[in-house]
C-alpha cells in the first residue's frame, strides 16, 4: 500500500515544502531577522542606479518591437548556422543547399524590412 | 405518346424561363398569353397521354435515366405515368390553364404582374414534375419546390404584414411535416436500398423490409406514418392545418390553384401513390382514416361561423381533403382520387367565383356583400353550381364522389367515421349556402360597394363557365352512366385489377345523404335568404311562405339554441384549440428558439477574457468527463 502511494506522497511533500519555504522566508522569518531602517531611496524602484522618472505604465514606441523582432530573427539565424558550421563536412551538399535557401529567405526578409523603412528611426 | 409525358411539365418551365427573360416590364397580354397557351398545350398533351395510358394499361410507362452511382448507392431520375398520374396531369393542367386565364383579369394592373406569372409557371412545372416523379427522392425535391412556390405566392403581396407572416407560417408548418416525410423516405431507402416505388412495393409485398433495429412490420408502419406526416402538412390536416386559412392572404387565383385544386391535394396524392405501403399496415390506415374524419368534421364546424368568404372556402377545402384522406384510410382508393378530381373542379370554381366577387366589391367580409345576383349573374350561377356540387346534391359532381366515400366508409365497417362524414356533409351544405345567400341574395348591405360592383371581363367569366360545366358533369365520369369508368381506369395500376373497397350501389344511402345535404341548404335558406322576400308583408300575404316563415323562426330558435348554440360552442372550442393550443405550440416553439438564441447572444460579450475563460472551462469539462468515463488514472 505504502509502495503504491509513495510517489504521490512525495508529490504532496514537494507541494507542502514549496509553499512553506517562501512563505516562511518572506513573511515570517525574514521580518524577524532583518534590521528595519527604511529610507526614501531604499523604497524607490530599482533602476540600476538611475533615478526612476514617471510611471512604469507608459506606451513604448512601436519601433522597439520591430527592432526586437528583427533581432530575434537574426539571433535565431546564428543559432541555426552555428551547429551547421561545426558539422559542415559531415552534412555535405544537401545541408549547404538548405542553408543557402534559408539565408536567401532571411535576406529577402531583411530587404523587405529595409524597404518598408523599419530600420529608420525617424 | 406516353414517352412525351416529360413535355407536360417542361412547357410551363419553358414559359417560366421565357417570362424571366422578358423581365418585369413585359406587357400583361404577352405574359398571360404565353402562359395560357403553353399550359393549354400541356393540357391537350395530358389528354392524349390519359387516353394512351388507358388504351394500353400494361405497357411500359416508366422512363428511367441513370443519374449517378456513388459506391453502392444508385440514383435514377426519370418519369413514370401510371393511371393515377395521368389523371392528375389532366386535372392539374386543366385547372392551371383556367386559373392562368382568370388571373389575367384578376391581377390586372398589379405592379408585379409578370412576376406573378413567373411564380405560377414555376409552381405548375414543379407540381406536374412531382406528379410524374419516378421515385420518392425526386418527388421530395419537387415537393419542396411546390412548397417554395407556395411560400412565394402566399407572400406575393409581401407589403401586407399579414401576407408576409402567413407565407412564413405556411412554409414553416409544412416543413414540420416534411421533416417526418424525409425521414420516412430515408428509412425506406435504408431498408430497400432504393427510392423507387416499384422496388419498395415489392419489398412490402415480400415482407423484406428490415433495418437493424426494426422488424418488417415496424418499418412499414413507421415509414407509412412518417410519410403521412408530410401529407398531413401539405394537405393541411389536423393538427398541421393551421397554415391553410392564413395562406388565404395570397391572391385569390393562387388560393384556387394551389390551396384548393393542386398543391394541397399533393398530400392525398402521396398517400394514394404509396397506397400499397399504407395497406400493409392497419395502424397506418386507421390513423389516416381518423385524421381525415376529424379534419373533415372539425373544419366544417369552424366554417359555420366564419365571416371572411375566402376563409369559409379554405376551411371547406380542409374538410374536403379530410374526406379524401378518410377515403384512403378506409381503403376506398378510387373514391378518394375521384373526389380529389371533382373537388379540384368545384373548389377551383368556388374560389375563382369568390375572387370575382372580391374583385368586384373589394371586400372579403360576407356581411358587407349581398344582392350581387343582379349585378353579377354569371358569377352567381356558376357559384351556385359549385355550391351544389360541394353540398353533394344530385346530379352535381360532388354528389357522386362524396356519396361513394360515405358508402365506402359504411360498407367497409366504419359506422363512426360514416357519421362523422355525414355530420360534416350537413354542415358543408349549410355553410356554403350561407355564403351563397349572404353574397348573392337579399339586399345590399353596403351600398357604395354594391354600386361599384360589376362582372369581370371575359377572361374572368370564361374559366368560371368552363369550371361550372365540369362541376356539374364531372361526377358522371364514375357513375352507372359509364359503368364506373374512372374506377376501372384507376384500378389498372394494380396487378390484381382492384384495390381496397369497391362500393355496391345503394339507392337508399344515396337518397339519405342527398336529403342531409338538402336539409343543410334548407336551413341556410331559412336563416339567410328570407329577407329577400321583402319582410313581413310579403310573408303575411302568402300563407305558405308565412308558415315557412313561421317555421323559419321556429327553426331559427332551435337552431340558435341547439345547433348554432351547440355548434358555436363546439366551433368555439375547436377554434380555441386551434388558435391557442395548436397555434400556441407552434408559436411557443419559435419563441423558445428566439429566446434561446438571444440568451446565447449575451454570452458573446466581446471580452476576450470571457472567451478564453469559457474555452478553458470547456477544455476542462470535456477532459474531466472523458477521463472519468475511461478510467485508468488512479
Amino acid at each position: 500500500m505504502f509502495h503504491y502511494w509513495n510517489p504521490y506522497f512525495l508529490i504532496v511533500l514537494y507541494v507542502v515544502l514549496g509553499i512553506f519555504l517562501p512563505v516562511a522566508s518572506i513573511w515570517v522569518i525574514g521580518p524577524i531577522l532583518r534590521p528595519n531602517k527604511p529610507s526614501e531611496a531604499k523604497g524607490s524602484t530599482y533602476e540600476s542606479g538611475l533615478e526612476p522618472v514617471g510611471d512604469a505604465h507608459v506606451r513604448y514606441n512601436a519601433r522597439y518591437y520591430l527592432f526586437a523582432l528583427m533581432f530575434v530573427v537574426f539571433d535565431v539565424e546564428t543559432l541555426f548556422l552555428y551547429p551547421w558550421a561545426v558539422a559542415f563536412k559531415k552534412l555535405g551538399m544537401f545541408a549547404l543547399t538548405e542553408m543557402l535557401i534559408f539565408i536567401v529567405l532571411l535576406v529577402i526578409g531583411l530587404a523587405y524590412a529595409w524597404r518598408k523603412k523599419v530600420l529608420e528611426w525617424t | 405518346m406516353v414517352q412525351y409525358a416529360w413535355l407536360v411539365p417542361f412547357l410551363p418551365l419553358v414559359a417560366y424561363v421565357f417570362l424571366l427573360v422578358l423581365g418585369r416590364k413585359a406587357a400583361e397580354g404577352l405574359v398571360a398569353g404565353v402562359s395560357v397557351i403553353l399550359t393549354a398545350v400541356s393540357f391537350v398533351l395530358s389528354l392524349f397521354i390519359f387516353q394512351a395510358v388507358g388504351n394500353n394499361p400494361h405497357g411500359n410507362n416508366t422512363y428511367v435515366f441513370h443519374w449517378l452511382t456513388v459506391g453502392n448507392r444508385v440514383f435514377d431520375v426519370g418519369f413514370q405515368v401510371t393511371h393515377l398520374n395521368a389523371l392528375m396531369l389532366v386535372v392539374v393542367t386543366l385547372v392551371s390553364t383556367l386559373v392562368f386565364l382568370f388571373s389575367k383579369g384578376y391581377m390586372h394592373k398589379d405592379d408585379r404582374f409578370p412576376v406573378f406569372y413567373q411564380y405560377l409557371n414555376l409552381f405548375v412545372f414543379s407540381m406536374l414534375a412531382l406528379v410524374i416523379s419516378l421515385n420518392l427522392l425526386q418527388l421530395y425535391i419537387f415537393w419542396e419546390m411546390v412548397g417554395l412556390c407556395s411560400y412565394l405566392l402566399v407572400g406575393f403581396w409581401y407589403f401586407k404584414p399579414e401576407a408576409a407572416l402567413a407565407a412564413k407560417k405556411s412554409f414553416i408548418v409544412t416543413r414540420i411535416g416534411d421533416t417526418g416525410m424525409f425521414a420516412g423516405i430515408v428509412l425506406l431507402f435504408l431498408a430497400t436500398g432504393s427510392f423507387d416505388y416499384s422496388t419498395i412495393f415489392s419489398a412490402v409485398a415480400h415482407g423484406t423490409l428490415h433495418i437493424g433495429w426494426l422488424s418488417n412490420n415496424g418499418v412499414i408502419t413507421l415509414t407509412a406514418l412518417l410519410i403521412f406526416a408530410g401529407a398531413v402538412g401539405k394537405s393541411a390536416q389536423f393538427p398541421l392545418h393551421v397554415w391553410l386559412p392564413d395562406a388565404m392572404e395570397g391572391p385569390t387565383p393562387v388560393s384556387a390553384l394551389i390551396h384548393a385544386a393542386t398543391m394541397v391535394a399533393a398530400g392525398v396524392y402521396l398517400v394514394a401513390r404509396t397506397f400499397p405501403l399504407f395497406q400493409a399496415s392497419t395502424g397506418a390506415t386507421t390513423t389516416v382514416a381518423w385524421i381525415g374524419a376529424i379534419t373533415a368534421l372539425m373544419a366544417s364546424l369552424i366554417a359555420l361561423t366564419q365571416r371572411d368568404i375566402k376563409r369559409v372556402i379554405a376551411y371547406s377545402t380542409m374538410s374536403q381533403l379530410g374526406y379524401m384522406m378518410m377515403a384512403l384510410g378506409v381503403g376506398a382508393y378510387a373514391y378518394g382520387i375521384f373526389h380529389l378530381m371533382t373537388h379540384a373542379f368545384f373548389k377551383a370554381l368556388l374560389f375563382l367565383a369568390a375572387g370575382s366577387v372580391i374583385h368586384a366589391v373589394d371586400t372579403q367580409d360576407l356581411f358587407e356583400m349581398g344582392g350581387l345576383r343582379k349585378k353579377m349573374p354569371v358569377t352567381t350561377y356558376t357559384f351556385l353550381a359549385g355550391a351544389l356540387a360541394l353540398a353533394g346534391i344530385v346530379p352535381f359532381a360532388g354528389f357522386w364522389s362524396k356519396d361513394d366515400i360515405l358508402s365506402a366508409t359504411l360498407q367497409s365497417g366504419h359506422p363512426v367515421l360514416y357519421w362523422f362524414g355525414l355530420i360534416a356533409a350537413f354542415c358543408t351544405a349549410f355553410y356554403i349556402f350561407r355564403v351563397f345567400f349572404l353574397t348573392f341574395t337579399g339586399k345590399p348591405r353596403v351600398e357604395e360597394k354594391y354600386e361599384h360592383a360589376h362582372e369581370g371581363s371575359w377572361v374572368m367569366k370564361l374559366p368560371l363557365v368552363v369550371l361550372a360545366v365540369f362541376a356539374t358533369i364531372a361526377g358522371f365520369f364514375n357513375s352507372p352512366v359509364n359503368h364506373y369508368g374512372l374506377e376501372r381506369y384507376l384500378f389498372a395500376d394494380f396487378a390484381s385489377g382492384t384495390a381496397g373497397v369497391v362500393v355496391k350501389e345503394n339507392v337508399g344511402l344515396m337518397a339519405f345523404s342527398v336529403a342531409v345535404g338538402l336539409l343543410g341548404i334548407l336551413l341556410a335558406a331559412l336563416m339567410y335568404w328570407r329577407p329577400a322576400f321583402g319582410g313581413e308583408k310579403l310573408s303575411k300575404a302568402l300563407s305558405i311562405p308565412y308558415i315557412i316563415s313561421f317555421r323559419k323562426f321556429f327553426f331559427d330558435e332551435i337552431y340558435t339554441f341547439v345547433i348554432v348554440g351547440g355548434g358555436k360552442v363546439i366551433a368555439a372550442i375547436v377554434d380555441f384549440v386551434d388558435r391557442y393550443i395548436i397555434d400556441g405550440i407552434v408559436s411557443l416553439l419559435s419563441w423558445i428558439g428566439s429566446v434561446f438564441g438571444t440568451m446565447l447572444k449575451y454570452t458573446q460579450d466581446g471580452q476576450v477574457q470571457t472567451y478564453s475563460a469559457i474555452a478553458a472551462f470547456g477544455v476542462l469539462i470535456f477532459i474531466a468527463i472523458a477521463v472519468f468515463t475511461v478510467g485508468g488514472v488512479l
Binding site: T97, K116 | G593, L600, G606, F617
Partner: protein, 492 residues
C-alpha cells in the same frame, strides 16, 4: 555525398510540388511588391493567381500518384491530393475576391503574399504525416491569418478582431501541442505512419492519457474550426476582417484545418476508435445546436454568416463521429462525405460573402436591412444570393443539400440516428434565419428611386463561378464524386 543534381532525382517535385510553387510565387511577389511601389498594383494579385494555378496543375498531375513521402514527412497520397486541390481552388476564389478589393481600398498590398504563405501552410497541413510538420504548417497558416485579419490597420474593429483571433488561436495551439506531446510521450514517435499501428496498444496501456491526447488534439483544432464552446472569437474576427479575408478564414483555413484534424485523428486513433470518436459527435451536436440558435437574433450579416459557419463546421464534424463505428472498409464513404461538403461549402460561402461585400461597400453598413430591395437593384445578384443562401440552408438541387444529405445518410447507415436527427432539426432552425434574408432580398425598397447595385466584372465573375459551382455540385454531384469514388483513402 549528395549533390544538387541528386536532389532533382528525389521525388521532391512530386511530394512538395504545389508547396514549392506557391512559396516561390509568394517570395517573388513580395520582392516585386517592394520594388514596384507606384501605381495600380493589382497585377501582383494576378501573378499570385497564376502561381496558384500552376500549383493546381502540379497537384492535379500527381492526383492519382502512388503514396510517396519525402523524408517520411511530407508527400502525396489521395488524402493530400484531394485537400490540396480543395485548398488551391479556394485560394483562387479568395485571390479573385481580393483582386477587386485591393483596387478600391486602402489595404496594404501585403495581403496578397500573406495569403500565399498561408496557402503554403495549408498545403503542409494537408500533405504532412508528421505531427511536428503538421503543427508548423498550422502555425504558418495561423500567423498569416492573424495578420490578415488585422491588415486594415486603420480600422479598430479589424485590429481588435486580429488580436482576439491571435489570443484564442494561441490558446488553441497550446492545447493542440499539449495533446500532441501526450501522444509523443506514450508512443515515442511523432510520425503518423508509425503511430497508426500503435493506437490500440497505447489505449490499452494508458487509456486516460490517450483520451486526453485525442481530446486535446480535437479541441486544439476546434479553436481553429470554431467548434462550440471554442468559437467565441469567430464573429469578432469575421466581422472585423475585410470581407475577402473573412471568406478566406471561412473556407481555406477551415478546409485545411479539417484536413489536418481528419488526418491526425484517423491515423493515430483508428484502432481504439470506438472509445474515442463519439466525442467528435458530442462536440458536433453542441456546435450545431448553439451555432444555429445563436444565429437567430443576429442582424449583422457577417456575424450571421460567422455563426452559420460555426454551425456548418458542426455538420462537417458529424461524419468524424462515425469513424469509431464504421469498419475501415466503409471509411471511404465518410471521407467522400466530408470532402464533398467542404467543396460545396467553399463555393456557397465565398459566393455569399462576395455579395455581402458588395452590399457593405455600397451601403457602408452590415445590417441585414442592406439586403432590402436587392432584387430590384440587381436581379442577377439577388438570384445568386438566393442560391447561396438556400444551399447553406440545404435546399434540394443545390450542393449544400447533397452535402447534408450524404452526411445524414451516413448517420443512418451507422445507426447514429440521434446525430442525424439533430442535424436535421437544427437545419430546420437555420431555415428560419436564411429565409429572413430572402424575405428582405425580395422586399421592395422604400425609396422610389432605385439605384442599380454596381459591381465590377471581377465580382460578377466570382459570383458566377460560385453559382456554377454550387448548382453543378447540386445537380450533377458525379462531377466530384466520380473522381473521389475510386480513391484508396486508406492504404498500407
Amino acid at each position: 555525398m549528395t549533390t544538387p543534381l541528386d536532389m532533382l532525382h528525389q521525388p521532391y517535385w512530386m511530394t512538395m510540388g504545389p508547396m514549392i510553387v506557391v512559396a516561390a510565387t509568394g517570395f517573388v511577389v513580395m520582392i516585386l511588391e517592394f520594388i514596384f511601389r507606384k501605381g495600380d498594383r493589382r497585377w501582383l494579385t494576378v501573378l499570385s493567381m497564376l502561381g496558384v494555378v500552376a500549383a493546381l496543375v502540379v497537384a492535379i498531375i500527381h492526383f492519382n500518384a502512388k503514396p510517396t513521402f519525402a523524408l517520411n514527412t511530407i508527400g502525396v497520397d489521395p488524402f493530400a491530393s484531394v485537400f490540396s486541390v480543395l485548398i488551391l481552388i479556394s485560394a483562387l476564389l479568395v485571390l479573385l475576391f481580393t483582386l477587386d478589393f485591393s483596387a478600391k481600398s486602402d489595404v496594404p498590398a501585403e495581403h496578397t503574399y500573406l495569403i500565399l504563405f498561408a496557402v503554403v501552410g495549408a498545403l503542409t497541413m494537408a500533405s504532412s504525416i508528421d505531427l511536428v510538420t503538421l503543427y508548423v504548417g498550422l502555425e504558418l497558416l495561423s500567423v498569416a491569418s492573424y495578420v490578415l485579419v488585422a491588415v486594415r490597420t486603420h480600422s479598430i474593429r479589424s485590429v481588435e478582431g486580429g488580436i482576439k483571433y491571435m489570443l484564442m488561436g494561441a490558446l488553441g495551439s497550446a492545447v493542440l501541442l499539449y495533446g500532441m506531446s501526450f501522444i509523443y510521450g506514450i508512443s515515442g514517435t511523432t510520425n503518423l505512419m508509425n503511430l497508426s499501428g500503435a493506437g490500440l496498444q497505447m489505449f490499452s496501456t494508458y487509456p486516460a492519457i490517450t483520451v486526453i491526447g485525442f481530446l486535446m488534439m480535437l479541441i486544439g483544432m476546434g479553436f481553429k474550426l470554431s467548434l462550440v464552446p471554442f468559437h467565441m472569437w469567430t464573429p469578432d474576427a469575421y466581422a472585423g476582417a475585410p470581407t475577402p479575408i473573412t471568406s478566406f478564414l471561412a473556407t481555406l483555413s477551415k478546409a485545411a484545418s479539417f484536413g489536418m484534424l481528419l488526418r491526425m485523428l484517423v491515423f493515430i486513433f483508428n484502432a481504439p476508435g470506438a472509445h474515442l470518436f463519439y466525442w467528435a459527435g458530442i462536440i458536433a451536436a453542441i456546435t450545431m445546436i448553439v451555432g444555429n440558435f445563436i444565429a437567430l437574433p443576429q442582424r449583422n450579416m457577417k456575424r450571421l454568416l460567422a455563426f452559420s459557419s460555426v454551425a456548418q463546421a458542426g455538420y462537417i464534424l458529424v461524419p468524424f463521429a462515425m469513424f469509431g463505428i464504421a469498419q475501415s472498409a466503409d471509411w471511404a464513404g465518410l471521407f467522400d462525405s466530408i470532402s464533398f461538403y467542404l467543396f460545396a461549402y467553399t463555393f456557397m460561402t465565398v459566393g455569399a460573402f462576395a455579395i455581402v461585400y458588395l452590399l457593405e461597400r455600397d451601403k457602408g453598413s452590415l445590417d441585414s436591412d442592406a439586403l432590402i430591395g436587392l432584387y430590384q437593384r440587381s436581379p442577377w445578384l439577388a438570384v445568386a444570393l438566393t442560391i447561396f443562401v438556400l444551399s447553406l440552408a440545404g435546399m434540394p438541387l443545390t450542393a449544400g443539400f447533397l452535402g447534408k444529405f450524404y452526411i445524414f445518410v451516413d448517420t443512418m447507415h451507422f445507426s447514429t440516428i440521434w446525430l442525424g436527427v439533430i442535424l436535421f432539426a437544427t437545419s430546420v432552425v437555420s431555415f428560419y434565419y436564411y429565409i429572413g434574408w430572402l424575405r428582405k432580398v425580395y422586399q421592395k425598397e422604400p425609396v422610389a428611386e432605385v439605384t442599380a447595385l454596381s459591381a465590377s466584372p471581377i465580382m460578377h465573375t466570382l459570383v458566377a463561378v460560385c453559382v456554377i459551382g454550387t448548382l453543378a455540385l447540386g445537380i450533377v454531384p458525379a462531377l466530384l464524386l466520380h473522381p473521389l469514388a475510386g480513391l484508396p483513402w486508406i492504404y498500407g
